[in-house]
Symmetry: C2
């Protein structure tokens, strides 16, 4: 059985699962039973909604509450779970089982556990991931549902809003059933704080959550001091919060003469902080982002392009990739031989891989922008914003999503797909048969920029 | 003497030369003797014009023929020569003399000569570079001046136009004294062909010119078969012409419904070809580029960002850098261990350096775009175009240059400077005291995108 399966590479299986999840969800969401009365979805809009849900992007060509009834909304949350948590855990599972070549993620997993993983150890780890996320979602649902009794007339409505809100935030899906994202809570700092917490817990990466859990439990079974986090965790957590700080401070400064002009100091802080957190991957918003000024929008494009942590529910080039790029540049400028950080040294292969991910993503997004400016009638900024949002699986939009042509929607669907599986997997996917070449040519140096 | 000089690094000396050249040219071009009657230049406009000339960019805040008289125009050509050829040859000279650490360019030079360079050998090489460029400029002047007798009333005017045109094209300066670049020659394919030839000869890189010369002369003294070009030459020439082809074909396709709609087939070809060649570095144009559609303009931004060959009169990240990025991505996607090209293998250090140049440049340009959209009232596309043009030292503009604020002009001046000396030199320049660390930390792998 395994020998037959081993013909597939791990990534091909992830993509296969992804494709099956899309088809299954497409069929699920197409049931008229789940739709509001009188709703007629075109195939491209149904496909767009499905891929947006499976990739937990949240870009929408239709309004969720105007399209799906209560049963449909609950069905949608299952699709979000498939997309956000399912692909990641199953991907991890498949990756570790077929250890034909030990990949990076696997090594990371092994590192987390510090022991050689047995099959039962692996299942235990995956159940731990699932349990952790579902626990976070449960707590979120309870807090939001109870609090929403202040907002909604019936406990059923409050529960539905709290449940959907918690799932959407934790999986960083960016879908909403309010019709206007979190705009109605733009002055409710409690709802915003709960949402930001859930968004961050979902986007910061499973390895971080597990290491944090072990740390809090004082788990000494890992064979090292329980307070020593892995390089990966230190790197991704630092970068994650540094990006949030940069985004919030920049918006605070850049929007003084624009969106924040007439706001009180606490409104200014919460607007800036929430919108910065949401560019990490959430896609929920407490305002209409198209009201922001050009410099803020361009910065947000860059932040969405960077995206969330690896092994999280998020997309983009990932925070570690970005951090490694900055470290490589800094160390090179300083004239150092190796790239040192947190008392560890990075591997040259990881550095080259990071740069490959970044430049491939940049070229892909540039090509998408050129194609979309050719196909669509919109100006360049909404298009760049839409492309960054799709590749980062963020889901923020300046409002052009529903008006895209079928070809335009196809491009965005493709970007959401690539953004979710990651450039690394994408490059593995499109490559042909790998030819292991034993020979080497003589090396020759060339002049660089 | 040398021991005292050796306190400076080679790059610091290049920058020192650059700074001195700017100050000298600033004083030279400020003489009222060189100005048309009644012209009053502000300091920032004079500085902008000087840096634009020294960096052979060609972005203009003032019209050259409306500002400088004939003597001033001739003075300007000397500034262009300082900037285009002077900095490069002097830079090379300094670089090779102070061989405290053998740098990349030096190794390239040695490779060109294949012999250990003696001081007299070096001087010989530099004179060869100078002789080659001046010879190209002379031929260009003669051809254009004679041909321009058809266009201009007096032989003096034809000679001035031919001389300035040849210098501006060969140094890829992008300055014009017609007032409208080459728009008046938009149907004269002879002038365009001469200009394209000069632009390419200037931007393709001195090492290429010298290897080509040796090849044509059948020079066997280099100790290898005269028909074997270096990896550098093969890489940069292939990339250079591939980029021209991509730009021309893309414009031909993208502008069918726009600028090229009412043009004959030969007009379509020459418009596309010339504008593509000029994005390599020239900056001269046979049309108003702001008439192009958004997708073409975005592609041209990318092409200008890439720029010309290393060791040429051009700027940008350089063609080799871009080629190495593509090769690294391709070989990685193919699952190959090393990066092989033209029967040679690239060094990992060169690959990392290329990626560092590209990503640093991209971040610098993004920061400049954010700053300019904040400072200036213009939409994003003209700003991105201006930034790409300045960093690539191309000199094309959608027409906002003269209307930039003083702060905006300062940013463009900075980009022209960095684009000309190159990101590589820029990073060397901003770094502090290099600390050689003997110790190493343990290596730890992390998850990449
Ligand atoms: K999202
Ligand atoms: K130029």
């Amino acid at each position: 059985m395994v020998s037959k399966w081993a013909h597939f590479s791990a990534i091909q299986l992830i993509v296969l699962y992804y494709a099956l999840a899309v088809i299954f969800s497409l069929i699920l969401l197409s049931f008229p039973f789940f739709h509001d009365e009188g709703v007629e979805l075109t195939f491209i809009d149904l496909l767009f909604t499905t891929v947006s849900a499976i990739s937990v992007t949240g870009l929408g060509v239709v309004s969720t509450p105007d399209t799906f009834n209560t049963a449909g909304i609950i069905a949608l949350t299952f699709v979000l779970q498939f997309g956000g948590i399912g692909i990641m855990t199953l991907g991890t599972f498949i990756w570790v089982i077929f250890r034909r070549r030990i990949g990076l993620r696997e090594r990371q997993l092994i590192q987390i556990d510090q022991n050689q993983l047995s099959m039962s150890g692996l299942v235990k780890l995956l159940l731990k991931i699932l349990r952790t996320i579902l626990f976070i979602e449960l707590i979120g649902t309870i807090i939001l549902s109870i609090y929403f009794l202040n907002y909604f007339d019936t406990w059923q409505e409050a529960l539905l809003q709290g449940y959907f809100g918690a799932i959407s935030a934790t999986t960083n899906a960016g879908f909403d059933i309010t019709g206007t994202s979190l705009v109605q809570f733009s002055n409710d700092y409690f709802v915003q704080t709960v949402n930001m917490s859930l968004l961050i817990l979902g986007a910061i990466g499973f390895p971080v959550l597990i290491e944090l859990q072990d740390f809090l439990k004082g788990d000494h079974t890992r064979g090292k001091r329980s307070n020593s986090f892995s390089l990966f965790t230190k790197l991704t957590v630092t970068t994650f919060f540094a990006l949030i700080a940069v985004g919030a401070i920049a918006m605070l400064l850049l929007e003084q003469g624009n969106f924040l002009a007439d706001k009180s100091w606490h409104e200014q802080i919460f607007y800036s902080l929430f919108q910065s957190v949401t560019t990490r991957n959430g896609g929920l918003a407490t305002m209409d982002v198209s009201e922001l000024s050009d410099p803020t929008l361009i910065l947000f494009c860059a932040l969405m392009f960077i995206g969330a942590s690896p092994s999280s529910v998020g997309g983009g080039i990932r925070t570690t990739t970005f951090a490694i790029m900055l470290l490589a540049i800094y160390n090179f400028a300083k004239g150092r031989s190796g790239v040192k950080v947190f008392g560890r040294e990075l591997d040259n292969d990881d550095i080259i891989r990071s740069f490959i991910v970044i430049t491939t993503a940049a070229m892909l997004c540039t090509a998408a922008v050129i194609a979309l400016t050719y196909i669509e009638p919109f100006p360049i900024l909404p298009i760049v914003f839409e492309v960054s949002s799709a590749f980062g699986t963020t889901g923020l939009s300046m409002g052009i999503t529903a008006d895209l042509s079928t070809a335009g929607k196809g491009i965005i669907i493709f970007l959401m797909f690539v953004g979710r599986i990651g450039i690394f997997s994408f490059l593995f996917l499109i490559r042909g048969k790998v030819i292991r070449e034993a020979f080497h040519y003589p090396k020759e140096r060339v002049i660089i920029g």
